[in-house]
Point group: C2
Chain length 552, copies 2
């Protein structure tokens, strides 16, 4: 019965080997090709149409209820479904209950709509299915990866043209590596810094070979510390833990009133550790676009300080890096070129699909500190990119970035950056105008935080102190937690929430609402709608707020 | 001039914000939609047609020459190219100089053709662009990921149904995690083992918090060792290095005549380290499908040994894991269910596009040893999957695996596994029949190695000893290196080469040719063609082999 349907129903239900082979080759009849195009149209338009028409962020259904439909843990012997059914299921059942991160009303995380061509590029990369761990499975794609790596290195460091002439395709040098994401990029940077700081010396083969305990004995020290502001991304803590350094040795430095690392405090800490013969400073980390506030540390001053003290300076520009593409705002990254290593994410402000991270090194030979070889591939001296990466097998995401840069130019990416930053400033103005709201962190890039703090509460706060003030702040925190949750659950818009310690003067842990503006379809009027909805939620749930009950 | 072409030429050359927005929304006219379908057809058919017609592995052009075309390191302000040009470039310029890993003549690495629907699924994942680090950016997709994780866990461990009933959607438990690939999976397993072995005790907060040097002091030891056979993947060495344990503490155990870990030697080593109060055994690693030989270690015996000795038993089944889908061959994985943790790759024998790794844990709470939290996401007690992964942002590859399993069933994957193993056995027979060839490692799964060793040289080897034998072996190694290189460079077929120490009795480092059989389009007659080509190369270059000159 199914013979005539072989391509239409590409499953192996019939156990037919011929049918299996059909899955691995392209359709050769016009009718079969038309069906394949049909699938793709289903994906491109069915899915995209859903995502774009369904402006809301997600359907209203609780996670627990949703989970009940996904309890079966068996794998059937016979195929459970045919391909068209699986695709339809994704479009009709999964997509509506996923999160529409491409909605202009989804402004809560570092994820947004991406240009439609990114999906095409991702499909190309999957169809080519190259493995850039080695040239034997990638050839020219490894060469393209070297080129786009040099392009980004130049964007960050702007060395002389002859530097790039020499190193762009040099198999000895490595200007940077692509990673799974920012976490792996930060880990790679600190891994390099660790291995360089605790390299081989007499009677010791280096930390990579001999391990950390041996290294501390060889160097006669008790610990290594990494310094970062308290706005550092949690991946730093994780990286330090993985590397065996102990994540308590990630020392967080206080921030100033604008959420930037406090330079005098950093200087004091460096001096303190320098004076302690049992401690080494492994790295200082600057942030170029803090996850929670979008703040950029004073990179130039940090870089100078590190150079003076001979410390590895890493900049986590996972978020902010692409700001370098904007002529208007690249000055916000001033000093980034002093970094020994820089993390930039592709899936953030390069608008690539999940996932792509990168880490760049000023010195083309620093990555040698983590090189690994194997007999069957990535042989010593070879041109294989996998010698100096944390990952083995790796997707050719570099080809997506390379293609996107060609289509967009600095101009295109610059426009997106400019839009986000400009819009964030307008939103900040709007928030300042509204009595119920309080801007907590003003935007430096395209991220800001604010909170609900209606006038009577603001005034009460000013009059209060001690336990009274703590209790009031907790009350305000609760209000914000509830407003964010109710808005999220109602499914039309999404802002995120986080907690910033000392977010407001005299406050402790301050719950804030966080807006990230990267979707070019998000406009000020959409943002006003989002604020209006929040105000409506506030009125509905808190109009009868018993200010007496709160101690006011 | 370009106004009418806005969608046809989706670039921002004109600096028009409207045009930029068009990149982020789907086309709304019929004509525009047709153009988008056109692009996709270009990719699906242009690219696929090229890959399938161009049976050869790659075009003849040296890497150095190729690199000359990719020297420019600048990023243009204006877009360099329009989208259709970039796509055409990839199809016409990149693809021919990439490696056609989908060719049935490409049998050298663990990469092959993948079912065409995988490209569709990858496009879907990119279009949805969910970030499974947290439910706020993935919702139902996180739930799907939990389900497919339970499915694979059950395939590996086969616990009772009520175990899965309880844990499949439990937010407390974690049956496994998706990773970038096998390296990250192995790293995750050893990271968990490290943190569990060196957990908190009085006056010590655990290795993750306090670091390794502190941990060794608290436990009064000098080192931790990890034991694996000398056929272990190089990612083990890398993982041990990253974790700060010192990669010299990856202790390699000898193998028996069939490339399986030598159990008596393993027992001796375990006893030796157990007797040393200054050393702890962090893990024993079993291999289920060695990268170079495809061998499977005696997992059951290793598992029993580890259980008895209270040692974490990790199985690297990155390659072999999907053998569990085959009713005929799943017995080759016997004992895998005794492992504390198991690595399986999706982009290998689950035929997923690059990249997808996974690691499963028998105990649903072992992954707690590496949990990390952050304020703005993945809050303590939340259902966010990112709490227990090395990566932060993560692509929803789980959706691809889930979909593929539905379309293929165990039956479909089983057929692929069976084909590879059966074909490898036939190839082994064929090699045994040919006088110039010598089978070095017989296939257990679908990988084998062999070498050119013509009869006169074989006989001379038998008569020789000492330096004479070494010199002869080196000569044979050279021949094999050359044959593999010439065949690869001529671009039609690809087998890989590696070096196996003591590959042949009395031999030292033995260069071998390695065949990996996973492409269902590869047949015995294609393999005979590949061998014939090698024999022809041998005749052309070595017919006049001066046996006197080689000392024979």
């Amino acid at each position: 019965m199914r013979q005539g349907l072989s391509f239409e129903a590409p499953s192996v239900r019939d156990g037919d080997w011929e049918q299996m082979l059909r899955l691995f080759i392209q359709p050769d009849t016009e009718a079969d090709r038309a069906k394949l195009v049909g699938y793709m149209e289903q994906i491109l338009f069915g899915l995209q149409e859903f995502l774009h028409n369904h402006v809301g962020v997600t359907e209203e259904i609780g996670l627990k209820e949703l989970a009940l439909g996904y309890m079966d843990s068996t794998i059937c012997f016979e195929p459970e479904k045919k391909l068209p059914e699986v695709i339809s299921d994704i479009i009709d059942r999964i997509a509506p209950q996923a999160v529409n991160v491409s909605s202009p009303y989804f402004v809560g995380h570092m994820t947004s709509a991406i240009p439609f061509f990114m999906v095409l590029f991702k499909a190309i990369v999957a169809a080519l299915n190259q493995n850039v761990v080695k040239v034997e499975t990638s050839k020219v794609v490894s060469i393209v990866e070297r080129q786009v790596t040099a392009r980004l290195h130049r964007l960050v460091y702007g060395m002389e043209p002859d530097f790039y002439e020499k190193y762009v395709q040099s198999t000895d040098a490595t200007l940077g590596v692509f990673t799974e994401g920012g976490t792996a990029a930060n880990l790679t940077a600190l891994w390099v810094a660790r291995n360089r700081l605790l390299g081989p010396r007499e009677g010791f083969d280096g930390v990579e070979a001999d391990g950390l305990a041996e290294a501390y004995r060889a160097y006669d020290i008790d610990r290594c510390v990494i310094l970062v502001s308290r706005r550092g991304h949690y991946s730093m803590r994780k990286a330090v833990g993985v590397l065996g350094l102990g994540n308590r040795n990630l020392v967080t430095i206080d921030v100033d009133g604008e959420n930037r690392i406090c330079l005098p405090a950093l200087r004091r800490k460096i001096a303190e550790y320098k004076a302690d013969p049992r401690t080494r400073i492994l790295a200082v980390v600057g942030i170029a676009g803090a996850t929670e506030t979008g703040t950029v540390d004073p990179l130039r001053k940090m870089g100078e300080l590190c150079r003076e003290a001979g410390i590895h300076f890493h900049v986590d520009a996972a978020w902010g890096g692409p700001t370098l593409m904007s002529d208007r705002y690249r000055h916000l990254m001033d000093g980034i070129e002093l970094a020994d290593s820089v993390t930039i994410d592709g899936h953030k402000q390069f608008y690539m699909p999940m996932t792509c991270g990168m880490v760049y090194f000023r010195d083309p030979f620093h990555l040698d500190a983590i090189s690994y070889h194997a007999n069957y591939i990535i042989r010593r001296g070879s041109v294989d990119l996998g010698i100096k990466t944390l990952a083995g097998t790796r997707e050719a995401n570099s080809l997506i970035l390379d293609s996107a840069i060609k289509v967009m130019g600095r101009k295109g990416y610059g426009m997106l950056i400019d839009h986000g930053i400009d819009l964030a400033r307008k939103l900040a103005e709007e928030i300042r105008k509204r009595d119920n709201l309080q801007l907590v962190t003003a935007p430096e890039l395209n991220i800001l935080t604010y909170r609900f703090c209606p006038t009577p509460l603001k005034e009460a706060l000013l009059r209060s102190c001690g336990a009274e003030r703590t209790r009031l702040n907790e009350k305000i925190n609760d209000i914000n937690i509830n407003i964010q949750r109710i808005q999220r659950e109602s499914g039309k818009s999404f802002v995120s929430r986080t907690a910033i310690d000392k977010g407001v003067p005299g406050g402790g842990e301050t719950v804030v609402l966080r807006v990230v503006l990267m979707n070019p379809l998000t406009s000020l009027s959409i943002l006003k709608e989002i604020l209006d909805e929040q105000e409506a939620i506030y009125r509905e749930y808190y109009s009868s707020l018993d200010l007496q009950g709160t101690g006011v």
